[in-house]
Amino acid sequence: MSATDITGTGGPPSPGATPPGRGRPDLAGRRALRRRRARSVAGTILSLALTLLGLLLVTFIIGRVMPIDPVLKVVGDRATQAQYDAAYIAMGLDQPLVVQFLTYIGDVLQGDFGRSISTGQPVSADIARVFPATLELATLGTLIGVVIGVPLGVIAAARRGGIIDQVARVVALVGYSMPIFWLGLMGLLIFYGMLGWVGGPGRQGILYDGMVPNVTGMVLVDSLIAGDWPAFQDAFSHIILPASLLGYYSLAYISRMTRSFMLEQLSQEYITTARVKGLSERAVIWRHALGNIAIPLVTVIALSFGSLLEGSVLTEIIFSWPGLGSYITRGLLSGDMNAVLGGTVVVGACFVVLNLLSDILYRFLDPRST
């Protein structure tokens, strides 16, 4: 699963050297602008549709050339040749690849993602169950990464070579190089096993399981909707450790990127001008410089969030978190292509949505595009 181009068509304007001014185009200019916008929206939609289709095609082909036999997964090791053949035909594998792919696309367009052979359930039902679990975890993880990573990166850049910069460097280095598997187990051992501060593997404690009505599938949100505070606390105690772990990894990335963006800004002339004008250092750094890196930073955060949606397989395994990453991986290992394709569509769609959100944010953050 490759990330689609998160920056979308056009990409973000690079952070300007001077604070951008607000121009007032004439009527003809505005019409031309509107036409350009319409074309760009249509182009965006078309390219997104093509991206998703391409993603599906590549995944489909990988699934078919993979040396794993999905039929065996269905019928099992003991099946006779006749039972095997019957399942082979029932799964449509006797058809040419092109026909198989077109049939699949046709079904998908009608909202039918097929049945997963490793759970025996419709893929859409599976995804409706696993995706909220992942979304909840990735969102909290990214939140932690942003809330800590951005200020850390800013301060590291502002006090370059200072203690905080050194600390940030070590934090990022450890975050990049420590295997998440080990870190996860150690986290469990210390915070769950020894200190008892957090809940163990799984999304909820036994007592709360199934007690909160399922609305969004995200236990934290559902328990808030139900107004069940103890259930929320329980769910929070289970999610906080894996989310912190993912948060740590995204914080390592986000703080490094923030730092380098900031360093670039701080060496610009407008910063010197601002300082000469007598602005406080706090205003120079937090308003002027940080304001100008907002756009590339949004891209970085969106990318980091996107990768957590599909890439937190190991965390999901260690914490018995029934999420999308492990669903896709398990599907891949057992040749369960319906599950893999369905999961891929969801991840692809997430990138598309993140893309659109970033686009909207750019417009919001960049005065030139309003």
């Binding site: 090791d77 003991r78 997963s116 025996g120 929070f236 906080i240 018995s320 029934p322």
Partner: protein
């Protein structure tokens, strides 16, 4: 964004993170089990053939005969059938059913349901169907061969099979009795309710399926009207916990009562923890070495004989397989009728070298494929080292389980290292695959037979003996026949049973009467209790 805001957010987040969470021991009437249950693909007894699916069905359904979880060694016992009678010609068995049993739906369990359940399994012809069709039932004749009248059910077979063989097969998951009315009310496109039963349950067992969330958990609740009395544990929750260390931590913290996938390292470190006990239970799986007779070197009987002395049985079971396997060199696992405890082979490099020298073999190279599972790789590497000492080079390619299985079924794995689990509780289950291969040609495509997969040309008399043992009416004679077959097998077969699986179950101190199903069955919860 200002620094003030972020620092407040950080403070809030850390305050929340370290807020004391509400922890509790598992409730007294609830049994919480950690297990890897990601293999379940169907809960229909006519289709389910995976370990975890059978674990569920064994508790939600009843069968005509069953094992007593408190005395499994007694063999099959009356369950829904109170008694049975074998006809003079040995071709029919008539069962008399209890009349006080109800399904979870409230419908009575009738002989008609039992007959229909067996007919249904034969007609659906899913993978486990062979357990029933081996008695001569086909989709066309099964309505005449399995009939019911009042509270009796009659099975008529094509040959006078050993009653112990038939009854053992009726303890299998596929012989579960399903509620005909409920299932047929959910039939779609003539599937005999298969689609619905894949994710639902219609049994009369001690537990009702409350929820199954794939790869996450199975929840069972006690059936209060169960005919053998309502179970003590009112709720059983099986959570999918893939990591052994996570299972260990959960058990140490008292968040689960039973951990079923502990590695030797975790067993060792948990053994000293107060409040936790380890129960060893021999299971039915045999770890064996298949020497493919299509390989020129391996088809030499001397090489086969030498290989049996190149496995460091003791060293392996005392190190990386410690506690998880015991040495077992015959194809029927301990716990089976006719099991053989003799261990004719020892690790003896000198002897192996001598055998090879006597046969004029100076060396050779074998490239094989091994599933990327730690224990198999470890066994393969010890074997590699031992073979190296006698001039044989073993090259190992690691692959996923599915890839190795594909190749194995295509007879393309020179040295197979892996496990075989019995399909039902009768010795024929292993005899018919290890020691039976009537046609060794590629065209026969008997992919289900281990002998065929290893291209082992089973001698005619062994094929015949295997068949004869299924017809022997006297159970003791039958047991002796299987022992003879295994001795002959040990003497010449290129498929070498090495170890038998032991399940090391970690349990909270209070848990009593746990039974994982031994070598012959699946887990049962109805007898489990939890003390203080």
């Amino acid at each position: 964004m200002t620094f003030h805001l972020t620092s407040r957010a950080v403070l809030l987040a850390s305050a929340l993170a370290f807020a004391p969470a509400a922890f509790a021991e598992t409730p007294a009437d609830t049994l919480v089990v950690a297990h890897t249950i990601d293999d379940i693909i169907s809960l229909d007894p006519a289709q389910s053939f995976e370990f975890s699916g059978n674990d569920v069905n064994n508790n939600t359904y009843d069968r005509l005969v069953d094992f007593d979880p408190l005395d499994p060694e007694a063999g099959f016992q009356p369950s829904l059938a109170v008694s049975w009678e074998v006809s003079e010609d040995g071709l029919s068995i008539t069962f008399t059913l209890r009349e006080d049993v109800t399904f979870h739906s409230g419908n009575p369990v009738r002989a008609e349901d039992a007959a229909w359940s067996l007919q249904r399994a034969v007609k659906l012809d899913k993978t486990p169907a062979f357990i029933l069709t081996q008695f001569g039932f086909t989709a066309d004749n099964v309505d005449q061969m399995i009939t019911s009248e009042g509270n009796t059910l009659t099975l008529t077979m094509d040959k006078p099979y050993a009653p112990s063989f038939v009854l053992n097969c009726l303890t299998a998951n596929i012989a579960s009795v399903v509620d005909m009315e409920t299932v047929m009310a959910n039939e779609a496109d003539g599937d005999l309710g298969n689609g619905w039963l894949n994710t639902n349950e219609a049994g009369s067992g001690a537990y009702v399926l409350a929820a199954w969330r794939p790869n996450e958990q199975v929840q069972l609740t006690a059936y209060e009207d169960y005919w053998q009395g309502a179970p003590t544990m009112k709720r059983v929750i099986v959570r999918n916990v893939a990591e052994s260390s996570a299972q260990r931590l959960l058990l140490e913290q008292g968040d689960i009562d039973v951990a079923r996938n502990l590695t030797p390292t975790d067993v060792e470190s948990i053994a000293s923890v107060e409040g936790v006990t380890i129960q060893d239970e021999p299971r039915g799986r045999i770890l064996y070495m298949g020497l493919n007779q299509k390989d020129e070197l391996l088809s030499n009987p001397a090489v086969v004989e030498a290989m049996k002395h190149l496995v460091d049985y003791e060293g392996i079971t005392n190190s990386f397989l410690k506690g998880q396997f015991v040495t077992h060199q015959s194809f029927l696992p301990r716990g089976y009728l006719g099991a053989l405890d003799e261990t004719p082979w020892t690790y003896d490099i000198e002897k192996a070298r001598q055998i090879l020298t006597d046969a004029g073999i100076e060396g050779g190279t074998i490239t094989t494929r091994v599933r990327d599972l730690r224990e198999y790789i470890d066994v393969a590497q010890t074997l590699q080292a031992a073979m190296g000492q006698v001039g044989l080079t073993l090259e190992i390619e690691q692959m996923t389980g599915a890839q190795v299985l594909d190749a194995y079924r295509a007879r393309e794995v020179p040295i197979f290292l892996g496990e075989w689990g019995p399909d039902y509780s009768d010795p024929n289950t292993n005899a018919a695959t290890f020691a039976y291969n009537p046609d060794n040609s590629d065209e026969a495509a008997a992919v289900g037979l281990l002998a065929w997969r290893n291209a082992y040309e089973v001698p005619a008399e062994m094929n015949e003996a295997t068949v004869a043992a299924t017809l022997e009416q006297d159970t003791d004679t039958r047991a002796a026949m299987y022992q003879d077959i295994q001795r002959q097998y040990q003497a010449e077969a290129p498929i070498v049973p090495l170890f038998q699986r032991i399940e090391q179950v970690g349990m909270g101190d209070g848990v009593q009467n746990w039974w994982s199903g031994g070598a012959i069955s699946s887990v049962m919860y109805r007898q489990v209790t939890k003390g203080e």
